[in-house]
């Protein structure tokens, strides 16, 4: 007897909607087993995580703070997916965006002008986009696998970022700690009263709107969709594929860069060696879960923001927040499996069915 798959004529709508939910639930169950094996009561750990992420106004606002970079990075990864391009480099692009914006902020420590924030936004978009253009160019011009290059560039970007913090930009008054000087308040993104939720949220929503419009109503958006579905047809129709690849990587990187700007300007207010707990990697899962739909991306990002914030509460239990990474991996596994089951029927072959 063996399992085999039979293609469904049309993928099941109900299952497609339920699959992501089931994937998350099952992943939590499997995670529970791992927690239990480590000698902690999984129920309590999860309750702690949930309370830490969604249990209070403060918790919700903190989750929202983490949601902002996740939305931006996931939108970037998602638009690349739409063109069947893999941008695994959102993490590095985020750092490069933060580097560019941070450089501006440090250059104008007293800066109070209205222009400072827009300039930082622009710098982060350019910084991220340029970093994203490296794998983009290699892919478009030389057909080099963008998965590997974009990923390896993450390591390079972070080292570059850290060089400046440990070196030229180190705060002379920082007692040798690897921090830059704090930004002047003119370089701070305004926050929502009493919380740490910053203006980056508006950027994120605007970005989602922008992408939605781009894909639906513009010529280049149409080209991206065709290239993603069938590059051969795109070539046959005379579309400029290398150009579209560059554009997609620039947008993708720019959005991740903007996420980096949001982190340093809206939350941390200076540069430090680590500014992201892997937003760029989590974004890959979010983009996949949200099926590259800009609106769903916002919702799913909130969920994963909660997972991140909840993960911090685990430390109280003496558990490593690596659990979050495990859960993310599991969700992705189950989602992949579930995805297949919406398109295929599982059948047992043995006797006649």
């Amino acid at each position: 007897m063996s399992i085999f798959l039979e293609k469904r004529a049309q993928s099941s709508r109900l299952l497609s909607a339920l699959a992501p939910l089931l994937a998350i639930i099952l992943a939590l169950l499997m995670g529970a087993i791992i927690i239990a094996l480590s000698g902690t009561n999984p129920w309590e750990a999860y309750r702690e995580m949930f309370v830490g992420a969604f249990g209070s106004g403060y918790a919700l606002s903190e989750t929202m703070v983490k949601t902002i970079p996740l939305i931006l990075c996931s939108l970037g990864v998602g638009i690349a997916f739409r063109a069947t391009l893999w941008n695994i480099g959102a993490e590095g692009q985020l750092y490069m965006g933060a580097f560019a914006a941070g450089g501006i902020a440090l250059a104008f420590p007293q800066g109070q002008g209205w222009w400072l924030i827009p300039l930082m936004v622009l710098a982060s978009l350019v910084g991220g986009a340029l970093w994203g253009l490296i794998p983009g160019l290699l892919k478009a011009k030389l057909n080099v696998n963008e998965i590997i290059t974009s990923l390896l560039l993450n390591y390079v970007a972070i080292l570059w970022f850290q060089y400046w913090i440990y070196g030229p930009w180190k705060d002379p008054l920082g007692y040798g700690f690897p921090y830059t000087a704090p930004f002047g308040e003119g370089a701070w993104l305004p926050t929502l009263a009493g919380t740490r939720i910053h203006l980056g949220l508006a950027f994120a929503v605007l970005a989602a709107l922008f992408l939605y419009f781009l894909l639906k109503s513009t010529r280049v958006g149409y080209e991206i969709r065709i290239i993603g579905e069938n590059p051969q047809a795109a070539r046959y129709a005379g579309m400029n594929i290398p150009g579209a690849i560059l554009l997609v990587f620039a947008i993708s990187g720019g959005l991740a860069g903007l996420a980096g700007m949001g982190e340093i300007s809206g939350v941390i207010h200076r540069l430090q060696p680590a500014i992201s707990p892997g937003f760029g990697y989590t974004a890959i899962i979010i983009a996949w879960l949200a099926r590259f739909n800009p609106w769903l991306t916002i919702a799913v990002s909130f969920l994963f923001g909660g997972l991140l914030v909840g993960g911090y509460s685990l430390r109280a239990f003496g558990l490593s927040d690596s659990l979050v990474l495990i859960l993310q991996g599991l969700i992705l596994f189950l989602l992949l499996g579930g995805d297949i089951l919406t398109r295929y029927r599982l059948r047992w072959k043995g006797g006649r069915a």
Binding site: K7, S38, V144, I148, L152, G329
Partner: protein, 311 residues
């Protein structure tokens, strides 16, 4: 620089290249059958941790290596099930495997961070061969796992090109529909080599924690898995070229390390970038070369196979 320093650097290059070599060989096996496994980093991490844990419990590095091999293979089976049986997207599945491996190793490994172990692989002079001038010093004053990798290369090469199972394995990667029509079990072969690939990745990880730097550190693989994936392309799926590529990287690593030790004026951050930048450069040239000389990847790489589906 004296001659001694050169020899020591070359010997260090071999050592640094060995974990990458094992992982690259593993990936070659899987990709030869058409399965792209981007989870190398995760499997190496799990291998490194398992090897370290078992060794620290039993004080027997060989048991540690065995455990690492098995754990790497088991992890690869998740990928195999998703991509072969369920025909899932291979890229995403591999990424998930990497995340899962990172998370799990970080989660479990927390207890042994920085714990020293007594029994690990130490270099020893290989009888007779270590006496050869130059070559002996570079190649034959290494540890046992390095010697095993020397053996593995010709064995794998012979297996792939000169034997019936090797022929079948390559056929599955080139043209699964034909292999299937000829009565070869496409799924069976893909499972087998994906598993073996995971085993070798696990072994590569264990080399890091049991020989290279005998401690456990979170994320100690530090991108070597990704470098190995790039090297597979550089090596055009050939074990001997994988050896060349891995040692080249070992050399970059060794020189970088030595330059730091010598307190070279270049900040360590930039030296630390070199392996990644070098990988990207190598990938660019390998891709151009592959395109120019039409040394294709296995034709069915990354494509799921289903007998009854018309494409």
């Amino acid at each position: 620089m004296t001659w001694d320093v050169v020899l020591a650097t070359l010997a260090a290059a071999i050592k640094a290249g060995t974990p990458i070599l094992y992982a690259t060989l593993g990936e070659i096996l899987a990709e030869r059958t058409g399965i792209l496994n981007l989870g190398l980093e995760g499997m190496m991490l799990i291998g490194a941790l398992t090897g370290f844990l078992i060794c620290s419990m039993t004080n027997n590095p060989w048991l540690g290596v065995l455990a690492a091999i098995i754990s790497g293979g088991l992890l690869a089976l998740i990928h195999a099930f998703l991509t072969i049986t369920l025909r899932a997207q291979q890229v995403v599945s591999g990424l998930a495997l990497t995340m899962f491996g990172m998370g799990l190793s970080g989660f479990i490994g927390k207890v042994v961070i920085g714990v020293p172990i007594a029994g690990y692989f130490r270099p020893f002079d290989f009888p007779f061969l270590s006496q050869i001038p130059f070559l002996g010093e570079v190649f034959f004053q290494q540890d046992a796992l390095v010697y095993i990798s020397y053996l593995l290369i010709p064995i794998l090469s012979f297996w792939i090109y000169r034997t019936r199972p090797g022929l079948h394995m390559r056929a599955v990667g080139e043209n699964p529909a034909t292999a299937d029509a000829m009565g070869i079990s496409v799924a069976g072969i893909r499972y087998l080599y994906t598993f073996l690939g995971g085993c070798l990745a696990g072994l590569g990880g264990a080399y890091l924690s049991l020989a290279y730097t005998p401690v456990w550190l979170e994320n100690m693989v530090a991108g070597r898995g990704w470098i190995a994936i790039a090297l597979v392309i550089f090596a055009s799926w050939d074990p001997f070229k994988a050896l060349l590529g891995s040692y080249l990287f070992g050399l970059v690593d060794a020189v970088q390390f030595r330059a730091q030790a010598l307190g070279l004026a270049v900040p360590s951050f930039f030296l630390n970038m070199t392996p990644y930048v070098a990988t990207i450069l190598v990938l660019v040239f390998a891709t151009r070369e592959t395109a120019r000389r039409h040394l294709g990847a296995p034709a069915a790489l990354g494509i799921p196979f289903a007998r009854e589906e018309k494409t």
